[in-house]
């Protein structure tokens, strides 16, 4: 089906439902949510844009327009460029780790006859745990003195030192964040697998394709839409949701080794009170997140076109 005719179908469907003509009641019912969106989303976002082009004094001390000065200061700051790098390393490693583990687990969970309900339950519940609870548990596991990782230091002192070694600290936050994210990726992969039509796989089996070949040549290509959706969700998530884990486990340390962009926005804006610098960073992050969301929804629309699954 091509674009325009689908829009027509949708429009007709929508108006078929719209039977109530009381406009005043309609607007009154949506007003509360729109007010919240305006006051707590649109207004602060607009403020961030405004501040990023001005030099703001904290606590309402006045401001001057400075054009792109905040941004050029930002992109010349070695600290900021470092946190761009940290964010990329954090995102790439958590995404690779949690998506690949989740995919492998989902592929197998889809193939077993007994105990699949139980295994599913056992794999999805980390979704429900708060970031600070996950972070504290992993902080203790990786505690170099009395945690489980302390045993490494019993073998040879200094083998594991996340308090001073940046690479160790990064490993620790990546493992904690990925551990939790496997759950949500697993849920989505499994749902994607269940949408693959059985007949396709049966046909391949009759043609003599074994389970590995079916997985490689049929299942994984048909799972591509889910994988892509998850990739976008995970990139956005690793940019924004990493705050809790990092704040509790390392506070961005040691020496900025785990200071991601989100943590930098918080540290500069909320603790350092550099409102303009923080706002410029917010704007950069916003553009990234908006871009990712648009890609995700563009794609979700096209999935309706080509997806023969349901």
């Amino acid at each position: 089906m091509n674009g325009p005719s689908r829009t027509n179908v949708r429009r007709r469907t929508a108006s078929r439902f719209a039977v109530f003509g009381n406009r005043r009641l309609g607007y009154a019912l949506v007003l509360p949510q729109l007010l919240i969106v305006f006051v707590f989303f649109l207004w602060p976002a607009a403020q961030a844009v405004l501040w990023s082009f001005r030099l703001e004094e904290p606590f309402g001390g006045g401001s001057v327009f400075v054009g792109f000065a905040n941004f050029s200061r930002l992109f010349r700051s070695p600290e900021y460029l470092r946190s761009v790098g940290v964010t990329i390393v954090f995102a790439a490693s958590t995404i690779a780790l949690s998506m690949i583990s989740a995919l492998v687990l989902a592929l197998f969970a889809d193939q077993i006859r007994h105990g699949s309900r139980l295994i599913r339950s056992a794999l999805i519940w980390p979704y429900a745990i708060s970031a600070p609870a996950v972070a504290l548990t992993f902080t203790f596991i990786f505690n170099p003195f009395i945690g489980l990782a302390g045993r490494l230091n019993a073998i040879s002192p200094g083998l594991w030192d996340p308090l001073l070694n940046g690479a160790h600290a990064m490993t620790m936050v990546v493992l904690a964040f990925s551990w939790q994210n496997v759950a949500v990726n697993f849920i989505f992969f499994l749902a994607g697998l269940q949408e693959i039509p059985e007949s396709t796989l049966e046909a391949a089996a009759i043609d003599g394709a074994g389970v590995w070949r079916r997985t490689w040549h049929i299942v994984l290509p048909l799972l591509a839409p889910t994988t892509f959706l998850l990739l976008v969700l995970n990139v956005a998530g690793s940019f924004t949701q990493s705050f809790g884990i990092i704040d509790v486990m390392t506070q961005g340390g040691p020496g900025g080794a785990t200071r991601t962009l989100v943590y930098q926005v918080y540290a500069d804006g909320f603790i350092g009170l550099d409102l303009s610098g923080s706002a410029a960073q917010s704007l950069v992050l916003m553009i990234v997140v908006v871009g990712l969301t648009l890609i995700q929804f563009r794609f979700a629309d096209s999935r309706v076109h080509y997806g023969g699954a349901r």
Partner: protein, 305 residues
């Protein structure tokens, strides 16, 4: 799905899944075991994997000394407010988007869609400022149109609008109530219902609100249950927002209390009590998700993020 069965393959499958389950369970098992030992054992530096007998005492210590008990109350209130508020706002908005004929529908849709792209993490400082005075947007409008110059001339004073949300339950919940996920999920669900439903109830003389409360909401039970689960977990686990807007100890939430339970570098390493706190904090949302697993998974997969 299973197309054919091979013995060797199932063995591999169970081994891989077993490893996955162990890795998933282990950290929380480790927290549990730690919470069952006394300080001396935990501080000995030989991490234990077999439970001890001090669980009750550590839970009590976390509950009372760590003030986890009082903070749980705050967290429960805020989570319930968030679930109720999000459900009310998203069902009513979806109701209007589907069943009303409004010229500005497209704009409403986009306003709500936009919230998906503006997570709190990318607008920390300005959102904090709005929370310090939720009437700031209105005040700016008043200043902009010159009402204040008029007021100054007429009454000799300016209009000052203030509504401080810091350290309040309203502040902890209200800014989080907008729900694109909920609104779109309910909209999707309403559009799967037969369109004759609204017409029929209209012929029977029921107005829009009656139709909404007596017909639409009861039909939406499954979707409501799924979303309530997702939203409760979201509310219970909030960390950044409470951290920003609560300065008073008494308004702190569970997540914040947990973090303050963590031993600092030169403290006694009371990780047994910290882990007891972790167990208290994770139990309610985990139990809820497992109990509602079916509806929860369905809701999560079909909602936009």
């Amino acid at each position: 799905m299973i197309v054919e069965e091979r013995r060797g393959f199932s063995i591999v499958a169970y081994i891989v899944l077993g490893v996955g389950v162990i890795v998933t369970l282990f950290p929380v098992y480790f927290a549990l075991v730690t919470a069952t030992h006394d300080l001396q054992t935990v501080a000995s530096g030989r991490a234990q994997l077999i439970p001890g007998r001090e669980l009750g005492r550590n839970i009590a210590a976390a509950w009372v000394d760590g003030a986890i008990g009082a903070r749980t109350w705050n967290t429960l209130i805020v989570s319930v407010l968030i679930v109720a508020g999000k459900l009310v706002l998203s069902t009513t908005t979806a109701f209007v988007l589907v069943y009303f004929d409004l010229p500005l529908k497209q704009l409403i849709f986009w306003c709500i869609f936009v919230t998906l792209m503006l997570p709190i993490e990318v607008r920390i400082a300005p959102t904090y400022q709005v929370a310090a005075n939720a009437l700031e947007p209105l005040q700016s409008l008043v200043d902009l149109v010159g009402v204040n110059r008029l007021a100054l001339r007429l009454f000799g004073r300016e209009i000052v609008l203030r509504w401080n949300l810091l350290n309040t339950y309203v502040g902890l919940s209200l800014p989080l109530l907008a729900s694109a996920t909920g609104t779109f999920l309910f909209r999707q669900f309403f559009m799967t219902l037969p369109s004759e439903l609204a017409e029929a109830s209209q012929i029977d003389g029921a107005g829009p609100l009656r139709f909404f409360v007596l017909i639409l909401l009861p039909l939406s039970q499954t979707t409501i249950a799924a979303l309530a689960t997702i939203m409760f977990v979201y509310g219970w686990n909030q960390y950044l927002w409470p951290l920003l807007i609560t300065t008073r100890e008494s308004m702190a939430t569970l997540s914040m209390a947990l973090v303050s339970l963590a031993p600092q570098f030169d403290d006694l390493p009371t990780w047994n009590i910290t882990m007891a706190g972790v167990l208290i904090a994770l139990l309610p949302p985990v139990v809820l998700v497992l109990a509602m697993q079916r509806a929860f998974v369905k809701g999560l997969v079909s909602s936009p993020h």
